[in-house]
Structures are given as C-alpha cells and as structure tokens.
Symmetry: C2
Subunit: 300 residues, 2 copies
C-alpha cells in the first residue's frame, strides 16, 4: 500500500478548496514548488492523474475527487484524536477513579479532591469508599485507576508504593486522666475501659497484635463504625485507639487525642494501581497533589 501522510492529504484538500497551486501552497505553508512535487509524487504513487492542470483552471479528476473525499474524512478523524489527546495531556479532559479507605475518603481526601477539580475542571473524578479487600479487587477489575488503602490480600500482585504511615493515637474524653499526657504507651492503658473496633477494617487488623498483651477492662462494647466509636468515647463510655486519619470523626471539644509510643504503631497507607499498566495523565496528576496529612496531634 501507498505510504501516505497528513502532508499529502492536506495538500490535496487545499488544492480542491482553492483550485490553485500557488494559493494552496500558501495555505499549506510551503512553496508552490513543494506542493507541485507533493502532488506529482502522489499521482505517480497511485499511477493516476488526480488533478487537472488546465492552465486556466485547476480542478480534480473524478479519481481525485474520490481521493479528497477520503482525505477529508481521515483528516477529520486525525484532527479529532489530536485535539482529544492534547486535551488529555493538558488535563482539560479525562477521567480518574479513586477507591479509598472510608476514613481517608471522608476527611483527608475531600479537600484534595476539591483542589483537583478546581485545577482540572474538565477531568471527571470518581470516588469509591471501600475497605482494602474490595478496593484491591476494584483495581484488578479496572473499576478504579487508583487505590488509597491499607495493606490487603493480593497487594503484592499489583503495583504499589507506601504513601505514608498513619500513626495510631489514643482517644479519650477531655476530662480523662490520660488526656493531658504528651504521649502514652500500651502499658499505660492497663485497667482502662477499652472499646474495640471489629471486623474487616484495617484498623482492627493493625491493632490486634499490639493490643494482645494489653490488659483492658472489658466494656463489652464492640463496634464496626468509627463514627459509632466516636460517639461512645465522647460520652465517656470508654477509650480507644484510632489512626490519626480517623480523628476527624471525633468532636474535638469533647475528645482528646494522645500519641501512642512504641514499636511503630501505625497503619501503612498504600497507593495501588493495576499491574502492568501505567497511570493515566489524569491519575498521575492526582497523585502529584497527594500530600500526607499533617501530623497534628491533639486538636485546634
């Protein structure tokens, strides 16, 4: 098959539009000589005269008309994809879907998303809140471009990097004796009324080992939602340990947060994306805007 380029297509289209070699050349930003050669070579390639040189009036042969009709369609397609890709490269277009740990999705991410959308208003932003297992599955299924999640099953099979570590803090009522300490250790919590978070969440998993040796007074309270926990703690029903990112669920006027010392007691948050793939420009630019939450201990 013939090797065609947009140069040639443009030349024929211009020639059809102005029916004049010199003017067509000008429109193509080349000399008239160059255009003449381009057309001649094309005609030689297809072994067919495509242009009628009648001295007085230049016009296309029937075969030339056929060619130029295709040329117009092709140029329209190429211009469209060209503009489309340019828009995407400059983030005037695109789509990024993020799946994130509920606690991140609820508090840390929203301002970042807002900033992202303000900066790239043309990019559609999709957000799912899901626990690690489901989040990773969404990445595998390509239902999401990017996951922000704690470690979950199958993480090794995906591309990932540690984004930041989310340290655990003690949460207790403001009036609680421990509330005024600069920090506490697990040992300091002996004898306290402890409210447990249970089930799938990453918080429970990461705390399990650390709390195994602790000797708490059993409150009988086991909740799934951090928001529930926040209500219990605020009302003096017990204390607990949560990651800094979950602090936003708590009322700062009623609950104090105290750093917990010891053995790297923190939850790792990973950035995860599909194996064998690369982030889209839209996703990449979102990652650029991700900064770990400031490590604010205590409130306001």
């Amino acid at each position: 098959m013939i090797d065609l380029s947009t140069r040639v297509l443009r030349a024929m289209i211009a020639l059809d539009e102005v029916r004049h070699f010199s003017l067509a050349a000008e429109r193509c930003h080349v000399t008239q000589s160059a255009l003449s050669q381009t057309i001649s070579k094309l005609e030689a390639d297809v072994n067919l005269r495509l242009v009628d040189r009648d001295r007085r009036r230049v016009m296309l042969t029937p075969e030339g008309e056929r060619f130029v009709a295709t040329a117009r369609r092709v140029m329209a397609e190429l211009e469209e994809i060209s503009i489309d890709l340019r828009d995407r490269s400059e983030l005037r277009k695109g789509r990024v879907v993020v799946t994130a740990q509920p606690s991140l999705a609820a508090h840390w991410l929203p301002p970042i998303i807002a900033a992202y959308q303000a900066r790239y208003p043309g990019v559609q932003f999709g957000l799912h809140d899901a626990l690690p297992e489901k989040a990773l599955e969404q990445i595998r299924q390509r239902q999401a471009d990017l996951a922000l999640t704690a470690r979950g099953p199958g993480l090794a099979g995906l591309q990932h990097r540690l984004l930041f570590r989310d340290p655990f803090v003690l949460v207790c009522p403001c009036a609680h004796p421990l509330a005024r300490r600069k920090s506490v250790s697990i040992a300091n919590l002996e004898g306290q009324r402890f409210i447990r978070l249970i089930r799938g969440g990453s918080i429970a998993q990461h705390l399990e080992q650390a709390l195994r040796e602790a000797r708490f007074v059993d409150t009988g309270l086991e909740v799934e939602q951090v928001a529930t926990l926040a209500g219990l703690v605020a009302n003096g029903l017990g204390i607990s340990i949560v990651p800094v990112c979950a602090l936003a669920y708590f009322d700062p006027d009623r609950v104090a947060a105290v750093p917990v010392k010891g053995n790297d007691l923190s939850r790792p948050i990973y950035l995860v994306w599909p194996a064998g793939a690369q982030l889209s420009s839209a996703a990449e630019s979102f990652v650029q805007m991700l900064k770990p939450p400031e490590a604010r201990m205590g409130f306001g």
Copy 2:
C-alpha cells in the same frame, strides 16, 4: 496539529496487536530500534505516554487505546481508497459514458465497445446515441464523458479534436448506370432522381452547400432516417449521398457505393470532452481503442 503518517499508525496498530516491540517491528519491516523511536517521537508529539513499557508486558495506556482505535479506522479508509484507485488505474473498475452520432453508435462503435468490454470487464460502459446538439449538451451537463459527433453548436466551448473525416459516397441501385464508376462528381449527378435527408442530422447540414448547385430531378422524397433512405434506394426509387459510416444501413447486394470527388466532401467526426477537465483513465483507454473506420468503398 501533529504530522502523522501511515508509518506511525501502522506502528501503533502492530504494537497493540502483538504487545511486543521486537515482534511489532518485525511486522512493520523495520528494526526494533526504529519502531521504538517512532513511538517515542509520537509520544513526544502528543506529549502523552501511549504505551506502557512494563518490561514484562507491553500494553497501551488508555490514551494509547483511543489513538489506536482511530488509527484502525483511518488505515481502513486509506487502504480502501488505495485499492480503489489502484483498481481504477489498472481499469479493473471505473465507468465511462459515451454519446455518439447514431450512425456511429449503430455500426462503427459496437465492435469497438465489445473489444473494450472484453479487455476491461470491470469498467461500466454507457452509450447514448444523440445528434450533435444533444450530444454536446450531454457533455456540458457531464452526463457523458466523451462525445463522438459531427460539428454542432457550442463545440468551440468544449475540448475537442478531429477524430477522422467521414467521406461521402453516392449510393445507388446496383443496376444503376453510375454504379460501375470508380468515382463521381456532383456534376455527374445532374438529372438523377435524388432523395434528400432532412432536418437535424449532420449529414444534411454538410451536404447542403455542396448540393445547392446540383440540378436534380425532384423526387419529392424527403426522409429523416438513413434506414428509410436505404430502403428507398435499394428499391430503385432514387439515389442519394451518405457518409461511409452510414453505409452499414444499406444492403450490399442491392446498393452500390461510389466515392464522390471534389472539394473535401466529407463529414468531420470530433472527439469532444468537457472544458477544463481531463479524461478519466477509463475514458482515456477507450479513446486509445478508437481507430477510424477503414475506408472501404463499395462492398464485399
């Protein structure tokens, strides 16, 4: 806009198909290095990564998928027009419409048309029979590509060239005294019973001047159709003068033809085609096959 070529489109399509630079390069008949450069340049041009190089597995980015989808459509279009034009250049396809003088259409042309269709079976052949005025109008309206006709009004405004001259001959019954002569002049016809062809046909027009001075016996017979004239002459009702091309209407067993001497007594037959246009390949190839009728005087 970016300057794209089929080279680049092919490269992306191949890469999408085999997901492997080396194999894709092979498919494109270039080295792997060249393909790599081609892709890199394309990515630089659109300022976007289109291909994921994951060492283990090569695949396209979402933007690359978009590009390749367009690339496939464009290549399909270009291949189609490419094949179409090749077919036309090699006359496996095409269409030519000829409008010709009725006498030419009836006898001289048919074997030529048959030979043309045998040689170029893919080319559609259209034939109209029309007198000069209508034939030229068909050329102007682009209802026909080519006219084979005597001079008519408006011929000067179209492109034309003399194809051949169609000499006039005397037609008379075989038993007629003039039938055995090698040639006759208008003067020799004095006193003969002459049958006139009248109206639009080119024959009457060209004869008018030559016959003005002739002194015929009035037969009162004036016919429009040459076929009618043939019947009258064959039955001894008179003699007449017709162009050689019209001899085919006459029965060679009953009518003799004798060349007419003097003052270029012949009808010019022109090849006519539209102003400011060039013959299509199909029409051009038909013209190549046109040979003036052999100047056979008398029959058998």
